[in-house]
Amino acid sequence: MAHYEAPIREPLILGDKTYHDISNDIAAPVEGKANKWWWGVFTLALICFLWGVGAIIYTIGTGIGVWGLNNKINWAWDITNFVWWVGIGHAGTLISAVLLLFRQKWRMGINRSAEAMTIFAVVQAGLFPLIHMGRVWNGYWVMPIPNQFGSLWTNFNSPLLWDVFAISTYLSVSLVFWYTGLLPDFAMIRDRATKPFQKKIYSLLSFGWTGRAKDWQRFEEVSLVLAGLATPLVLSVHTIVSFDFATSVIPGWHSTVYPPYFVAGAVFSGFAMVQTLLIVMRKVSNLEAYITRLHIENMNKVILVTGGIVMVAYLSEFFIGWYSGSLYEDFTYLSIGAATGPYWWAFWALILCNGVFPQLLWFKKLRTNFTVSFIMSIIINIGMWFERFDIIVINLSRGHLPSSWTQFEPTFVDVGIFIGTIGFFFVLFLLYARTFPVVAQAEVKSILKSSGEYYKKEHH
């Protein structure tokens, strides 16, 4: 029997959905009109985005001096935001790739939107290495292209250069993975489209997909190959980002725990952002049958595990800093010096948001509650922003030489650019929610007979 699933497993598709119902439900947001909530949030996001664009133009036109940086703290919000956005992106890849290799069927309801989140998050992340440069117009010099300077090559010893390759690889693999999955779903919308313009667009987007057996065979094989490529990327990309700090000499940065700690932190914050988006989207786009309580609970479990790894990393940093007896470790971002110094508020925000509050997810009643999960996801994202801020600014503010100790204060341009990226992210996601099929409907159909609530009841 091809579609047997143990009755004890909770259904992944609720209600008595048929194949046709799935097509209707997923096509509805694309075929229908946007409601006032969509327009409200979109307008707000667009305003933020345009404000951010203005702030970026001002920065590039006038100079990095319009940010709050100084000669001792040369990175602050720029690289904090970069790492924050890259980290958020990792959840989508993990859901698409790692959960595919682990044959976790619950990924099918959420992988499309999670991957969309990854693409849009990496777009935001990619802005920062560009705009944080003093001379952005020469930014292409980081690419090893033959040139007239005697072919002056790039410096492959530099972690920033490894970032260039890692992030661009990550973006391209994620895009390909996302798009291949989208082909049959675009075809579904094309086949239902009645308006000629819509039909033309979706015909183009679906590359003439017909659903032949050979096409599906290739589809499945490509998904596995890409999953095999993307899984090491989940681990390597954020490891390379962590090397921006771990390979330096600054106390607090120079720490071997950074690679696994950053990867776990990335998955932690990424899943939190997926929760934020999906808990709202399932209600607004009427997808409660496909993004169920079980999906939210499983994601909370991943959050709990990765949050636990992050906490262990904090404890080990704290302990080893103290145990080393080195005076320089007394002022790093996880030390008594940070807890009681001028950045105590950033330190405690980190501990509370990342360490204390997520422990509430141990209680089943709380982790299966939608409101609690939503609030928790916001808290975790705030906490993870503070983690990167603390790592960068607190450590740079307390260097080796006490004469280098200084404070940092953001300017309205720093804040404006950050808000701008949040706005840009939501503009992209909202547009996506109304033009793309937000659930992998072809994959969900393939598990309907095994995991649909109606079919499970029939088997008893």
């Binding site: 194949y19 659903g211 050979k214 499945e220 072809a442």
Partner: protein, 86 residues
């Protein structure tokens, strides 16, 4: 032998797989099978050739690895090392 073309519609994928198997056993030619979602085991039941996507992807990866190692050696060691006087 007459050249009749039969088009059949199924609403259940298990029935489809059975039908494909029976048709193949009766030595009839299956032109194409279209499905709106992937049906596990359909390509095997139809006797479709396996794809070479996975092995070619691996080979491209190996080529990429060799190219990148050669590129790094050329750029950082052969062509213009950072300290070039020794």
């Amino acid at each position: 032998m007459s050249n009749k073309v039969l088009q059949a519609m199924y609403d259940d994928d298990d029935v489809l797989i059975k039908a494909v198997k029976m048709t193949r056993e009766a030595h009839h030619h299956i032109e194409e099978v279209y499905t709106p979602f992937p049906v596990h085991g359909l390509d095997k039941a139809m006797g479709l050739e396996k794809t070479r996507i996975a092995i070619t992807a691996f080979i491209y990866g190996v080529i990429g690895l060799f190219f990148s190692v050669w590129m790094l050696n050329y750029m950082m060691i052969q062509d213009w090392p950072h300290e070039y006087w020794w």
